[in-house]
Amino acid sequence: MATVKVLLFGKLADYAGNESIMIDGVENSSLLIENLEFKFPKFKNNIYSIAINNKLVFDSLKLENGDVVALMPPFSGG
């Protein structure tokens, strides 16, 4: 079980009321997302990509203490 830092961008940060939150006791990234979508149900209606330690990821990966997980929605303004 790891303690990780979650970085939130765009609307996700608005929903959570913070741009970064600490989450304890998570095993892997898919369980972390489940946990976040339970805490902030509005996340479910949003598209976002995930990066772990500044690397874009597509599968669920095991998380280690101190990992930084970024949830990045697309921006479309110009």
Partner: protein, 363 residues
């Protein structure tokens, strides 16, 4: 172009006379002359990029002026592309500025980007962003992507001529529908943030022309101009990226980038569908207040503010009433709320007054 005018940047060892000559020779296309496109084009013209194409299909609105600093208050109602070209040319009359008054689509983009070395995406909607991305992907054209939201921006460089052809669809494979996203109109955007993010895009373009290695190649920079937090994300090939992406020119030409428009068929019509009606079959009614700009002055459009538009007018003849407001939202609400009380022959024009101007341009 006069080399001595660029003396201050030629002094930089990364540029020098050789670098400046490269900038003179470069041909860069800026798509979208809004919050990002204005600073991008201004900086590239000032830096002495030899040929700059600018693309836009919008008119200047008062709500643009806080972030689109090429335009002044007395330009409201004019075409962005005309004003932008005039102002940019004043910065440097030797730069070749080519104005493309175009709405980007699959039919015109391939020919357009063929004339340029680098494409810079400064657009404000996913339909166009995905169309640009896929066109550059298929033709191996270098693309500098940029977007803003609130105080933050995203910038990436896709050198799609590299083997793995990493592109925007590796980050977000499927084009979001309009209900899944918000743009500046709803979320808001800070003008100074657009200037910063736009200049990051211009900086990437200059570095690419110079052959500098420190570009955001296959990286996504997320930059928060409020607290200066930044993250540089290493991108990698997404196994799902090609599922939704046209893999040939033929499938690209048949791909519908507008399909995610959330049109309510009962109450709304878009400009393509409007073109199926002859002018005899429709009555266009502008329900905005009389002082709202741009003002459309022709005999075809009746101007009746919504608070005085009554059911008798709406039922007066058999023509389909096309209700128009500034953005398409007020007119949608109006049609929805009054539909049952009328002969049900009315539709709200999707996209509002801008779309109506394009409709008349096409006539």
């Amino acid at each position: 172009m006069q080399l001595e005018n660029f003396n201050r940047q030629i002094l930089l060892s990364e540029i020098g006379i050789d670098g400046q000559l490269k900038l003179f020779k470069a041909k860069i296309l800026v798509i979208g002359m809004g919050g990002l496109g204005c600073p991008v084009a201004q900086s590239l013209v000032a830096a002495g990029i030899g040929t700059i194409g600018i693309v836009d299909y919008d008119i200047i609105e008062a709500s643009n002026l806080h972030r689109q600093m090429l335009y002044y208050s007395d330009d409201v109602g004019k075409r962005k592309i005309d004003v932008a070209k005039k102002r940019l040319q004043k910065i440097n009359s030797d730069v070749r500025i080519i104005a493309h008054y175009l709405k980007i689509c699959t039919e015109n983009i391939l020919q357009l980007i063929d004339n340029y070395d680098i494409v810079i995406d400064c657009t404000d909607n996913f339909n166009t962003k995905y169309c640009i991305n896929d066109a550059c992907y298929l033709t191996n054209k270098t693309l500098i992507y940029g977007s803003v939201s609130q105080f933050s921006g995203q910038i990436a460089v896709f050198f799609v001529n590299s083997d793995d052809k990493i592109n925007y669809r590796d980050i977000f494979p499927k084009q979001p529908s309009e209900s899944e996203i918000c743009n500046c109109n709803e979320l808001g955007v800070m003008g100074t943030s657009c200037q910063i993010i736009g200049n990051f895009q211009a900086m990437e373009a200059i570095k690419i022309v110079l052959g500098n290695e420190s570009v955001l190649n296959n990286k996504l920079l997320i930059y928060n101009t409020m607290n200066y937090n930044q993250n540089v994300i290493d991108l990698q090939k997404n196994p799902n990226s090609t599922i939704f992406q046209p893999q040939s020119i033929k499938s690209f030409l048949n791909h519908n980038y507008q399909s995610n428009k959330n049109l309510n068929r009962q109450f709304e019509i878009d400009i393509n569908e409007l073109n199926n009606y002859s002018l005899d079959e429709i009555q266009i009614i502008d329900i905005r207040e009389l002082d709202e700009i741009p003002i459309i002055n022709n005999d075809i459009v009746k101007k009746i503010p919504q608070n005085i538009l009554d059911n008798d007018t709406l039922n007066s003849n058999d023509k389909v009433k096309i209700i128009v407001c500034q953005s398409g939202k007020r007119s949608f609400e109006f049609v929805k709320n009054n539909y049952q009380k009328t002969n049900r022959k009315m539709l709200s024009l999707y996209g509002g007054i801008n779309e109506l101007i394009h409709y008349f341009d096409g006539k």
